[in-house]
């Protein structure tokens, strides 16, 4: 048991270290910016005095490592600086939208995970059947489509609707724009975010079920499953008692990897549906070159991503019988 604790401690330490390095990258990559940071923000035409004043305001006259530790200190105390474009605190901007993004991601995950696991296991059990081949083609198609394509197709069918002359054949079920604010109730929020959540689900399910299928097939080919067959065990016992305990680690891994993917994929979906989430904020800030906001949002996305991968790592250690019962 000790070995496993050590391993988990190692992974956690590695996670913290990675996060630290990522913060370094996010902070210092800005200093790679060609030309002067302040000039770049204000434009070439800015007066030298203005530039100097702006530089002092940003603290650019101090050495980089001092500014890094100030920034890092700020990260821990919840102060990520002030937005260039809106003059509001970055933490406040991010905070308001982070919850929305998490809501959308959780909504999509709630539909996608059970669906993908069931479809994936079925495809593995009935390998090369008509069902399996159909599912293979369908998922390949969804994986291959850009997220915004799927999103607009869904909007077309369920929102704008298909028209025959002046008569709507179908559509109008959901709003084309996922407009939510704090005063929107829970169920209303669920209703308005259904289309973006379904779009996310389509993409994630395809990935997740293909991975589930592959890992189950891999597992079913192992000699101990053949042995279980030769011991005359029933099919359900083989699946639940012999395959499942060993499938846990790969399946957890599949879920975590896709959750991480989901967190990032949400950026595009938010833009399509004009959803007030962190992804939308990030994209806006990138086009405005609002560097403090970009840095802050990148850090949050990276942290969530690293955390999810870390969870996957730790869970798959815990669910591995060889590690769980060391020699």
């Amino acid at each position: 048991m000790n070995a496993i604790l050590t391993m988990i401690a190692q992974r956690l330490a590695l996670g913290v270290l990675t996060l630290f390095i990522v913060s370094l990258i996010i902070f210092f990559s800005v200093s790679l910016m060609p030309g002067d940071y302040a000039e770049a923000i204000l434009g070439q035409a800015a007066l030298p005095d203005t530039v100097r004043a702006f530089r002092e305001q940003l603290g650019l006259d101090q050495p980089a490592y001092v500014r890094y530790f100030q920034w890092l200190g700020g990260v821990f105390t919840g102060d990520l600086g002030t937005s260039f474009s809106s003059e509001r605190a970055v933490t406040e901007l991010i905070g308001a939208r982070f919850g929305n993004t998490m809501f959308l991601a959780a909504y999509a995950a709630l539909i996608a995970v059970p669906l993908a696991l069931v479809l994936g296991v079925l495809a593995a059990l009935y390998r090369n059947s008509f069902y399996d081949r159909t599912v293979n083609v369908v998922t390949l198609t969804t994986i291959s489509s850009p997220e915004f394509f799927l999103a607009y197709v869904l909007i077309m069918f369920f929102s704008v609707g298909l028209w025959n002359g002046s008569e709507m054949i179908m559509g109008g079920f959901f709003p084309p724009i996922a407009n939510v604010s704090d005063d929107v109730g829970f169920w209303e929020r669920v209703y308005r975010t259904t289309l973006p959540a379904v779009t996310m689900t389509l993409v994630i399910v395809a990935h997740m079920m293909r991975m589930t299928r592959a890992s189950i097939i891999n597992l079913l080919a192992s000699p101990y499953i053949e042995m279980a067959n030769l011991k005359g065990l029933t099919k359900s016992r083989i699946v639940f008692k012999h395959a499942l305990p060993n499938a846990l680690a790969p399946i957890i891994n599949v879920i975590a990897v896709n959750m991480a993917y989901l967190i990032v994929g949400v950026v595009l979906i938010e833009v399509v549906f004009v959803y007030p989430g962190l992804g939308g904020l990030l994209v806006d800030s990138v086009s405005k070159r609002d560097i403090p906001v970009v840095q802050g949002s990148c850090l949050v996305f990276a942290a969530v991503y690293i955390l999810l991968n870390l969870t996957a790592d730790v869970l798959s250690i815990i669910s591995n019988p060889r590690l769980l019962h060391p020699r």
Binding site: S144, P146, F148, Y152, V271, S287
Partner: protein, 277 residues
């Protein structure tokens, strides 16, 4: 040659469909100036004209012919994605094989470096870098190629590792062969099938990635005709029930589906061949 033909004949309908689609796209990309009825950035009519016999797919917000721009999009979008993928493979493949062959501190160093880059989601990293370096086409290509090369590196290293443990590589080392010879003569020929398949998949990924960035307005910029940005520019039409903006998006989807079908068959085929021995 006959073996090649036989190989092709064994392709299922999905792979044949995929190969046909790819061939059409490549043909269009090469001969677009001949095929297109108008110039790429030529203003030919008023904005948002409907579909008719002159403007097959209508015009866009500035009055450029949609059909022409979709054809040019094939050249621009595919070309940029292809160059990016090649660059990513050159970089990632070379470093990956080097890591696998040399091992030791080179492998450790490269491995850790790649781990850190991959710890940041690539879309987020790309957005950060684009903020800093601006969004010109060369910058876009380099950033995406570098980010994507980490994944190529991982695969090349894994494939290379499986090959370097083979005794024929040890035999070459014992003979005193140099690194370059071992990579070129012993590893590369045996790594081709998985790397070719990966090239297809990575191309799809890069292609979708660039389209996504363009769609966000951060990738290929107007007036260059590009499918991702065309969707963005004309998205407003969708609220009026006009499907024109979906066509470039569909063009993206169709190509990636086609490539995926071919790769899927190729993977199945090559792994199947390996089972036989």
């Amino acid at each position: 040659m006959t073996r090649f033909l036989k190989f092709m004949q064994s392709a299922p309908w999905s792979a044949r469909f995929g190969m046909f689609v790819i061939a059409v796209y490549v043909f269009v990309a090469f001969f677009v100036p001949v095929l297109a009825p108008f110039g790429e950035t030529e203003l030919v009519g008023s904005s948002y004209q409907g579909w008719d016999s002159t403007y097959w797919l209508g015009t866009d917000s500035l009055g450029r012919d949609m059909f022409t721009r979709i054809l040019y999009g094939a050249r621009n979008t595919i070309g940029i994605a292809f160059v990016t993928t090649c660059l990513a493979f050159l970089l990632g493949g070379l470093l990956g094989f080097m890591s696998a062959t040399l091992g030791g501190w080179v492998d450790q160093l490269l491995g850790r470096f790649v781990d850190v880059i991959m710890a940041i989601p690539s879309l987020i990293f790309a957005l950060l870098l684009l903020t800093i370096f601006g969004t010109s086409v060369p910058v876009l290509i380099i950033i995406i190629a570098v980010l994507d090369s980490t994944r190529v590196y991982r695969l090349a290293r894994a494939v290379g590792m499986n090959i370097t443990v083979m005794e024929y590589v040890e035999a070459a080392k014992l003979r005193g062969e140099g690194l370059w010879w071992i990579i070129r003569r012993e590893i590369l020929p045996n790594a081709m099938p998985p790397m070719v398949a990966e090239f297809g998949l990575r191309f799809c990924f890069v292609f979708l990635f660039i389209s996504a960035l363009s769609f966000l307005g951060l990738g290929i910029k107007p007036p260059i005709a590009d499918w991702g940005s065309m969707v963005k520019e004309n998205a407003a039409l969708i609220s009026y029930g006009d499907i024109t903006p979906l066509l470039p998006a569909g063009a993206i989807a169709l190509l990636t589906v086609a490539v995926n079908f071919v790769v899927d068959w190729f993977l199945h085929k090559t792994s199947g061949l390996r089972d036989e021995h």
